[in-house]
Symmetry: C2
Subunit: 366 residues, 2 copies
């Protein structure tokens, strides 16, 4: 546990052209932060019907002190991360009289951030967006990096744009209104950050996990700040995912496949947790990772009370098939981002993507 001083502190992290501000209670001064980063004639607050119940009123009151503000509510959940929702929100903004001189504020989890970010990327060829993540997963991962988009029938995130936010405002106190399962799921990306870049941090995640799951603000602040530092350092080095940034895909090739094969019954963080354990085993099996890497990851995943084995209902063949439709498949082969040991990734000489044959993948899946 860190003390009260640290919990009151604000961290400002450079993500390359914009800042991620992490603190406790930022939502009370939302309008001040938004206006400082992206002052506009009009503000459009986009959120979902679940987040709105807890947080829309405070956010609206704060924004309205800085300019005319409209509120636009989408239905919660990945099932609504669609072109239809994007079009409806766009039409609502036009109807509300929003023009080019509008800043969009995305208040919610990863789905809201992705959809509202894509509305901003395409509204009159692009207006600023401020990301205000309310889920632990979005704080740690989704809100940083400028990826926006929606799903189609054919798969996740197949339509979208890179549209970096004007600023990301992380109020760690939002985690108090999250279900425990969602706090746990958020830890998966923190574990990933430790594995890909910082062995010491991975141990720290193991220590902090119980307090984060319990909703402790100062433990959450420490975790989010360090995770954002790691993610931001990667994004700064490769904003358009043309090289290094691929290391952030660790756990995600099999993770996305599991998520898809489960019909999105698995939370993203749960699927990534299983994906990391499986991909680390894959890395050991093909001689890329040092022995013991998978075991250490499995231990920390267990400490966060996240799953380590695939649901029995999902066959190995179904998961393998789902990897093939992933965006990361290039020219037919599936490339994995794999660790060489805890804290370091392999494959720098191959653009951080290691092609693995189906036989080896099937072996770790069965």
């Amino acid at each position: 546990m860190v003390g009260a001083m640290a919990s009151d502190a604000m961290h400002a992290i450079d993500a390359g052209g914009y800042r991620v501000i992490v603190g406790a209670g930022l939502r009370q001064e939302l309008g001040v932060h938004v206006a400082a980063a992206a002052r506009a004639h009009r503000y459009a607050l986009i959120t979902d019907d679940q987040v709105a119940q807890h947080h829309a009123e405070t956010a609206l009151a704060s924004l309205a002190r800085h300019g005319r503000t409209s509120v636009h509510v989408m239905r919660a959940g990945e099932a609504h991360k669609t072109r239809e929702t994007w079009a409806t929100l766009t039409d609502e903004l036009l109807e509300a009289g929003c023009g080019r001189d509008t800043t969009i504020v995305a208040l919610g989890g990863g789905v809201v951030g992705d959809v509202a970010g894509f509305v901003a990327a395409t509204f009159m060829r692009g207006v600023p967006v401020v990301q205000v993540p309310t889920s632990l997963l979005a704080m740690i991962d989704a809100s940083v990096g400028g990826k926006t988009g929606v799903d189609t029938e054919a798969g996740k995130n197949l339509v979208g744009a890179f549209h970096p936010p004007a600023v990301v405002l992380v109020d760690v106190e939002f985690v108090r209104t999250l279900p425990v399962a969602h706090r746990r799921a958020g830890l998966a990306e923190a574990i990933k950050h430790g594995v890909i870049m910082d062995e010491e941090y991975l141990s720290r995640v193991e220590t902090l996990a119980p307090d984060v799951i319990a909703g402790d603000a100062s433990a959450t602040l420490e975790l989010v700040a360090r995770s954002v530092e790691i993610k931001a350092s990667v994004v700064r080095a490769d904003p358009r995912e043309q090289g290094l940034r691929r290391i952030l895909n660790f756990g995600h090739t099999l993770g996305h496949a599991l998520e898809h094969a489960s019909g999105y019954e698995l939370l993203h963080g749960e699927a990534v947790a299983i994906g990391m354990v499986l991909e680390a085993r894959l890395a050991e099996r093909i001689g890329v990772a040092a022995p013991g890497t998978a075991q250490m990851i499995e231990r920390v995943v267990r400490s966060s009370a996240l799953p380590v084995v695939r649901p029995a209902a999902l066959t190995a063949a179904a998961i393998l098939a789902a990897t093939r439709s992933d965006k990361k498949a290039r020219g037919g082969a599936v490339a994995y981002a794999l660790p060489s040991r805890i804290g370091a990734m392999a494959g720098a000489e191959r653009d951080w993507g290691i092609e693995v044959g189906d036989a080896a993948v099937l072996e770790v899946l069965t």
Copy 2:
């Protein structure tokens, strides 16, 4: 008329990060040029059902020599520049197995360029697009500058993105298959380029107009090359339309309003021709432009056999109302891009946008 040498020559113009290649007969080597600028695993040719009749076969044959190529045909016309067409084309590409490693080739007029460009901007968060304009208007104007997008019920180009092409390939021989009215309409933007930046070029447009309207390739080559040079110099200076680039809006505030009020009965170039004459008169009336500016513009517009007065069926009030929904309206007021004389624009100190009261606009409309 310029001689055979000039007509065979290729011009390569720097548009800031990409080149516009202007020549006669380029379509025969389309694949070579596309692969040189944006080699990919897959090529997706997007065109419309009118252009496809004349030009799809040659383009496909040339592209197919460089990689697997799929062809995607939208219905022709502004009425189909919609989110629905964009979504259908995107789904077709996914179904055809296109991944991130795809280059989209946009073969057609401004509508195809805008829609296919927007598909490219948003397909898996952005893949390269090569613009191959087939209309004179698109050669001179739409294909250069990276603007992409679609219309909504609320207005034109309200949804879109800046997505600069990998290269623009202009084969002036495409004008041979255009209706005469479309060649004339293309001249409107050339006239605009003269007004905003080059008095000598405006005279040259007057001289070249009859040959361009007759479909002469060398006159068209000279016109397109100089117009693209002017447009590219403006786009290089201001790629995201945050300042100087607004001068390209000359004639377009009233032009778009006329186009909209006419229910798109007027061709874009016809509406812009009338818009330029009216806006030049407006500029004289409010003391911004030197006397005689509007008269000179009117003379060149007439030499291109383009209209100079608004259709009687459109009331001044309807046109004025239509200016208010324009994207260029900021904070409620409508700003015009106006000349100070032939070859120079006014308002540098006001970001090239001059706010004009409704009374003055109504006077020139009536």
